[in-house]
Protein backbone atom coordinates (compact mmCIF):
# COMPACT_ATOMS: atom_id res chain seq x y z
CA UNK A 1 0.00 0.00 0.00
CA UNK A 2 1.97 2.99 -1.11
CA UNK A 3 1.28 6.00 1.05
CA UNK A 4 1.54 8.51 -1.72
CA UNK A 5 -2.28 8.69 -1.77
CA UNK A 6 -2.76 12.44 -2.11
CA UNK A 7 -5.19 13.40 0.64
CA UNK A 8 -6.82 16.68 1.06
CA UNK A 9 -5.55 17.25 4.61
CA UNK A 10 -2.46 15.71 6.15
CA UNK A 11 -4.01 13.64 8.95
CA UNK A 12 -6.68 12.28 6.58
CA UNK A 13 -4.65 9.18 6.02
CA UNK A 14 -5.53 6.84 8.88
CA UNK A 15 -1.89 5.97 9.49
CA UNK A 16 -1.00 9.46 10.69
CA UNK A 17 -4.44 9.99 12.28
CA UNK A 18 -4.21 6.94 14.57
CA UNK A 19 -1.46 8.11 16.97
CA UNK A 20 -2.82 11.67 16.95
CA UNK A 21 -6.19 10.38 18.18
CA UNK A 22 -4.47 8.19 20.75
CA UNK A 23 -3.27 11.32 22.52
CA UNK A 24 -6.64 13.13 22.35
CA UNK A 25 -8.82 10.44 23.90
CA UNK A 26 -7.57 10.74 27.54
CA UNK A 27 -8.10 14.51 27.39
CA UNK A 28 -11.76 14.22 26.28
CA UNK A 29 -12.43 11.30 28.60
CA UNK A 30 -11.33 13.19 31.72
CA UNK A 31 -13.16 16.32 30.56
CA UNK A 32 -16.34 14.22 30.17
CA UNK A 33 -15.94 12.73 33.66
CA UNK A 34 -15.35 16.08 35.36
CA UNK A 35 -18.20 17.80 33.51
CA UNK A 36 -20.63 14.98 34.27
CA UNK A 37 -19.89 15.11 37.99
CA UNK A 38 -20.15 18.91 38.00
CA UNK A 39 -23.37 18.83 35.97
CA UNK A 40 -25.01 16.23 38.20
CA UNK A 41 -23.88 18.08 41.28
CA UNK A 42 -25.46 21.33 40.07
CA UNK A 43 -28.54 19.61 38.69
CA UNK A 44 -29.33 17.28 41.56
CA UNK A 45 -28.03 19.14 44.56
CA UNK A 46 -27.72 22.84 43.90
CA UNK A 47 -30.70 23.47 41.60
CA UNK A 48 -33.93 24.49 43.45
CA UNK A 49 -37.15 22.47 43.45
CA UNK A 50 -39.54 23.26 40.63
CA UNK A 51 -42.88 24.82 41.58
CA UNK A 52 -45.20 22.52 39.58
CA UNK A 53 -43.15 19.37 39.02
CA UNK A 54 -41.39 19.06 42.38
CA UNK A 55 -38.17 17.02 42.25
CA UNK A 56 -39.24 14.96 39.23
CA UNK A 57 -38.21 17.70 36.81
CA UNK A 58 -34.50 16.91 37.50
CA UNK A 59 -34.74 14.27 34.78
CA UNK A 60 -34.40 17.12 32.25
CA UNK A 61 -30.70 17.33 33.20
CA UNK A 62 -30.18 14.09 31.32
CA UNK A 63 -33.22 14.02 29.03
CA UNK A 64 -32.68 17.34 27.22
CA UNK A 65 -28.88 16.98 26.70
CA UNK A 66 -29.44 13.42 25.39
CA UNK A 67 -32.03 14.67 22.88
CA UNK A 68 -29.75 17.49 21.80
CA UNK A 69 -26.84 15.10 21.35
CA UNK A 70 -28.87 12.56 19.34
CA UNK A 71 -29.82 15.28 16.83
CA UNK A 72 -26.40 16.97 16.88
CA UNK A 73 -24.56 13.66 16.25
CA UNK A 74 -26.80 12.90 13.26
CA UNK A 75 -25.87 16.27 11.75
CA UNK A 76 -22.16 15.64 12.40
CA UNK A 77 -22.53 12.23 10.75
CA UNK A 78 -24.12 13.91 7.73
CA UNK A 79 -21.21 16.39 7.65
CA UNK A 80 -18.64 13.58 7.58
CA UNK A 81 -20.78 11.72 5.04
CA UNK A 82 -20.85 14.71 2.69
CA UNK A 83 -17.09 15.12 3.14
CA UNK A 84 -16.55 11.44 2.39
CA UNK A 85 -18.64 11.51 -0.81
CA UNK A 86 -17.07 14.80 -1.99
CA UNK A 87 -13.38 14.08 -1.29
CA UNK A 88 -13.46 10.32 -1.18
CA UNK A 89 -11.28 10.20 1.91
CA UNK A 90 -11.51 6.88 3.73
CA UNK A 91 -11.33 8.59 7.09
CA UNK A 92 -14.68 10.40 6.74
CA UNK A 93 -16.50 7.12 6.24
CA UNK A 94 -14.85 5.74 9.36
CA UNK A 95 -15.86 8.81 11.40
CA UNK A 96 -19.50 8.45 10.27
CA UNK A 97 -19.58 4.80 11.28
CA UNK A 98 -17.82 5.61 14.56
CA UNK A 99 -20.46 8.17 15.55
CA UNK A 100 -23.59 6.17 14.73
CA UNK A 101 -23.74 3.83 17.78
CA UNK A 102 -23.23 6.73 20.21
CA UNK A 103 -25.96 8.70 18.45
CA UNK A 104 -28.27 5.70 18.69
CA UNK A 105 -27.46 5.36 22.40
CA UNK A 106 -28.37 8.99 23.07
CA UNK A 107 -31.59 8.66 21.04
CA UNK A 108 -32.52 5.61 23.12
CA UNK A 109 -31.60 7.35 26.39
CA UNK A 110 -33.67 10.36 25.35
CA UNK A 111 -36.68 8.08 24.80
CA UNK A 112 -36.05 6.18 28.06
CA UNK A 113 -35.70 9.32 30.17
CA UNK A 114 -38.65 10.89 28.30
CA UNK A 115 -40.84 7.96 29.30
CA UNK A 116 -39.62 8.10 32.92
CA UNK A 117 -40.36 11.82 32.97
CA UNK A 118 -43.78 11.37 31.33
CA UNK A 119 -44.98 8.74 33.84
CA UNK A 120 -45.10 10.94 36.98
CA UNK A 121 -46.13 14.08 35.06
CA UNK A 122 -48.77 12.69 32.70
CA UNK A 123 -49.40 9.26 34.15
CA UNK A 124 -48.32 7.34 31.00
CA UNK A 125 -45.05 5.67 30.17
CA UNK A 126 -45.34 6.75 26.52
CA UNK A 127 -46.87 10.06 25.41
CA UNK A 128 -47.42 10.60 21.67
CA UNK A 129 -45.93 14.06 22.04
CA UNK A 130 -44.51 15.65 18.89
CA UNK A 131 -40.93 15.82 20.16
CA UNK A 132 -40.83 12.33 21.62
CA UNK A 133 -42.39 10.83 18.47
CA UNK A 134 -39.81 12.56 16.27
CA UNK A 135 -37.11 11.33 18.64
CA UNK A 136 -38.45 7.78 18.16
CA UNK A 137 -38.24 8.15 14.35
CA UNK A 138 -34.68 9.51 14.67
CA UNK A 139 -33.85 6.36 16.67
CA UNK A 140 -35.19 4.26 13.76
CA UNK A 141 -33.00 6.24 11.33
CA UNK A 142 -29.97 5.40 13.47
CA UNK A 143 -30.92 1.71 13.55
CA UNK A 144 -31.37 1.75 9.77
CA UNK A 145 -27.92 3.27 9.29
CA UNK A 146 -26.20 0.77 11.59
CA UNK A 147 -28.09 -2.17 10.04
CA UNK A 148 -27.18 -1.07 6.51
CA UNK A 149 -23.49 -0.77 7.34
CA UNK A 150 -23.52 -4.10 9.16
CA UNK A 151 -25.10 -5.86 6.16
CA UNK A 152 -22.48 -4.72 3.63
CA UNK A 153 -19.13 -6.50 3.79
CA UNK A 154 -16.98 -4.35 1.54
CA UNK A 155 -15.94 -1.38 3.74
CA UNK A 156 -15.75 1.06 0.81
CA UNK A 157 -19.30 0.29 -0.31
CA UNK A 158 -20.55 0.31 3.29
CA UNK A 159 -19.07 3.80 3.75
CA UNK A 160 -20.59 5.19 0.57
CA UNK A 161 -24.01 3.57 1.03
CA UNK A 162 -24.03 4.74 4.66
CA UNK A 163 -23.05 8.25 3.57
CA UNK A 164 -25.92 8.40 1.08
CA UNK A 165 -28.40 7.16 3.70
CA UNK A 166 -27.10 9.67 6.28
CA UNK A 167 -27.52 12.55 3.81
CA UNK A 168 -31.01 11.39 2.74
CA UNK A 169 -31.82 11.05 6.43
CA UNK A 170 -30.55 14.47 7.44
CA UNK A 171 -32.70 16.06 4.72
CA UNK A 172 -35.73 14.12 5.99
CA UNK A 173 -35.26 14.90 9.73
CA UNK A 174 -36.72 18.45 9.52
CA UNK A 175 -39.51 17.19 7.24
CA UNK A 176 -40.32 14.45 9.75
CA UNK A 177 -40.24 16.91 12.67
CA UNK A 178 -42.57 19.25 10.77
CA UNK A 179 -44.98 16.49 9.72
CA UNK A 180 -45.14 15.05 13.26
CA UNK A 181 -45.76 18.55 14.62
CA UNK A 182 -48.57 18.91 12.06
CA UNK A 183 -49.92 15.47 12.95
CA UNK A 184 -49.79 16.27 16.67
CA UNK A 185 -51.69 19.55 16.40
CA UNK A 186 -54.37 17.83 14.28
CA UNK A 187 -55.00 14.98 16.69
CA UNK A 188 -54.38 16.40 20.15
CA UNK A 189 -54.57 20.13 19.74
CA UNK A 190 -51.18 20.28 21.48
CA UNK A 191 -52.75 20.08 24.98
CA UNK A 192 -50.06 17.72 26.23
CA UNK A 193 -46.66 19.10 25.32
CA UNK A 194 -43.25 18.35 26.74
CA UNK A 195 -41.69 21.30 25.00
CA UNK A 196 -42.95 23.71 27.68
CA UNK A 197 -39.82 23.42 29.87
CA UNK A 198 -40.41 24.50 33.49
CA UNK A 199 -39.44 28.12 34.32
CA UNK A 200 -35.65 27.95 34.12
CA UNK A 201 -33.87 29.18 37.22
CA UNK A 202 -30.28 30.23 36.64
CA UNK A 203 -28.74 27.15 38.24
CA UNK A 204 -31.02 24.85 36.20
CA UNK A 205 -29.68 26.34 32.98
CA UNK A 206 -26.12 25.95 34.25
CA UNK A 207 -26.81 22.30 35.14
CA UNK A 208 -28.18 21.52 31.71
CA UNK A 209 -25.31 23.31 29.99
CA UNK A 210 -22.74 21.36 32.01
CA UNK A 211 -24.46 18.06 31.21
CA UNK A 212 -24.64 18.98 27.50
CA UNK A 213 -20.89 19.70 27.48
CA UNK A 214 -20.27 16.46 29.40
CA UNK A 215 -22.22 14.41 26.83
CA UNK A 216 -20.42 16.28 24.06
CA UNK A 217 -16.96 15.45 25.47
CA UNK A 218 -18.11 11.87 26.08
CA UNK A 219 -19.27 11.54 22.44
CA UNK A 220 -15.91 12.73 21.11
CA UNK A 221 -13.95 10.41 23.39
CA UNK A 222 -16.06 7.34 22.52
CA UNK A 223 -16.22 8.15 18.80
CA UNK A 224 -12.43 8.53 18.67
CA UNK A 225 -11.97 5.26 20.52
CA UNK A 226 -14.30 3.52 18.06
CA UNK A 227 -12.64 5.12 15.02
CA UNK A 228 -9.31 3.70 16.21
CA UNK A 229 -10.88 0.25 16.38
CA UNK A 230 -12.33 0.69 12.88
CA UNK A 231 -8.94 1.87 11.55
CA UNK A 232 -7.26 -1.18 13.06
CA UNK A 233 -9.89 -3.55 11.68
CA UNK A 234 -9.66 -2.12 8.17
CA UNK A 235 -5.93 -1.54 7.97
CA UNK A 236 -4.89 -4.83 9.57
CA UNK A 237 -2.84 -5.82 6.54
CA UNK A 238 -0.88 -2.62 6.06
CA UNK A 239 2.57 -2.43 7.54
CA UNK A 240 2.19 0.47 9.93
CA UNK A 241 -0.48 -1.31 11.95
CA UNK A 242 1.96 -3.90 13.24
CA UNK A 243 4.36 -1.23 14.44
CA UNK A 244 2.25 1.17 16.43
CA UNK A 245 -1.02 -0.61 17.11
CA UNK A 246 -0.09 -0.57 20.74
CA UNK A 247 0.03 3.22 20.96
Amino acid sequence: MNHSLVNWFKFASPASFYPLVGRLIPFFATAAAILTIAGLWVGLVVAPTDAQQGEGYRIIFVHVPASWMSMFIYCVMAFWAALGLAFNTRLSGMMTSALAPTGALFAFLSLWTGALWGKPMWGAWWVWDARLTSQLILFFLYLGFIALQAAIDDPRRADKAGAILALVGVINVPIIYFSVQWWNTLHQGASVSMTKAPSMAHTMLLGMLLMALAFWAYTIAVALMRVRCIILERELTSGWVKKNAME
Binding site: L44, R58, V62, M225, R226, C229, E233, L236
Partner: protein
Protein backbone atom coordinates in the same frame (compact mmCIF):
# COMPACT_ATOMS: atom_id res chain seq x y z
CA UNK B 1 -28.06 23.11 49.30
CA UNK B 2 -31.53 21.70 48.72
CA UNK B 3 -31.34 18.58 50.80
CA UNK B 4 -31.04 18.50 54.54
CA UNK B 5 -30.17 14.76 54.69
CA UNK B 6 -28.77 12.09 52.44
CA UNK B 7 -31.95 9.97 52.59
CA UNK B 8 -34.04 12.93 51.39
CA UNK B 9 -31.59 13.23 48.55
CA UNK B 10 -32.09 9.54 47.74
CA UNK B 11 -35.88 9.82 48.05
CA UNK B 12 -35.77 12.72 45.58
CA UNK B 13 -39.13 14.04 46.81
CA UNK B 14 -40.92 10.78 46.01
CA UNK B 15 -39.61 10.63 42.42
CA UNK B 16 -36.64 8.41 43.34
CA UNK B 17 -37.62 5.66 40.86
CA UNK B 18 -37.95 8.05 37.94
CA UNK B 19 -34.95 10.32 38.58
CA UNK B 20 -32.53 7.56 39.56
CA UNK B 21 -33.99 5.37 36.84
CA UNK B 22 -33.13 7.97 34.23
CA UNK B 23 -29.68 8.83 35.49
CA UNK B 24 -28.93 5.17 36.14
CA UNK B 25 -29.89 4.30 32.56
CA UNK B 26 -27.57 7.00 31.20
CA UNK B 27 -24.62 5.93 33.33
CA UNK B 28 -25.32 2.26 32.56
CA UNK B 29 -25.65 2.92 28.81
CA UNK B 30 -22.43 4.90 28.62
CA UNK B 31 -20.62 2.37 30.78
CA UNK B 32 -21.69 -0.53 28.57
CA UNK B 33 -20.65 1.34 25.43
CA UNK B 34 -17.14 2.00 26.82
CA UNK B 35 -16.82 -1.56 28.07
CA UNK B 36 -17.82 -3.02 24.67
CA UNK B 37 -15.26 -0.78 22.98
CA UNK B 38 -12.55 -2.07 25.29
CA UNK B 39 -13.56 -5.66 24.43
CA UNK B 40 -13.50 -4.87 20.73
CA UNK B 41 -10.02 -3.34 20.97
CA UNK B 42 -8.70 -6.29 22.96
CA UNK B 43 -10.10 -8.70 20.33
CA UNK B 44 -8.38 -6.82 17.46
CA UNK B 45 -5.04 -6.71 19.24
CA UNK B 46 -5.31 -10.43 20.02
CA UNK B 47 -6.04 -11.15 16.34
CA UNK B 48 -3.05 -8.97 15.41
CA UNK B 49 -0.81 -10.87 17.79
CA UNK B 50 -1.96 -14.23 16.42
CA UNK B 51 -1.27 -13.03 12.85
CA UNK B 52 2.11 -11.80 13.97
CA UNK B 53 3.03 -15.21 15.43
CA UNK B 54 1.89 -17.17 12.41
CA UNK B 55 4.02 -15.08 10.04
Amino acid sequence: MQWNSFNDFLAMGGYALYVWGSIGACVLGMGIEIWMLKLRRRAILARLLRKELTQ
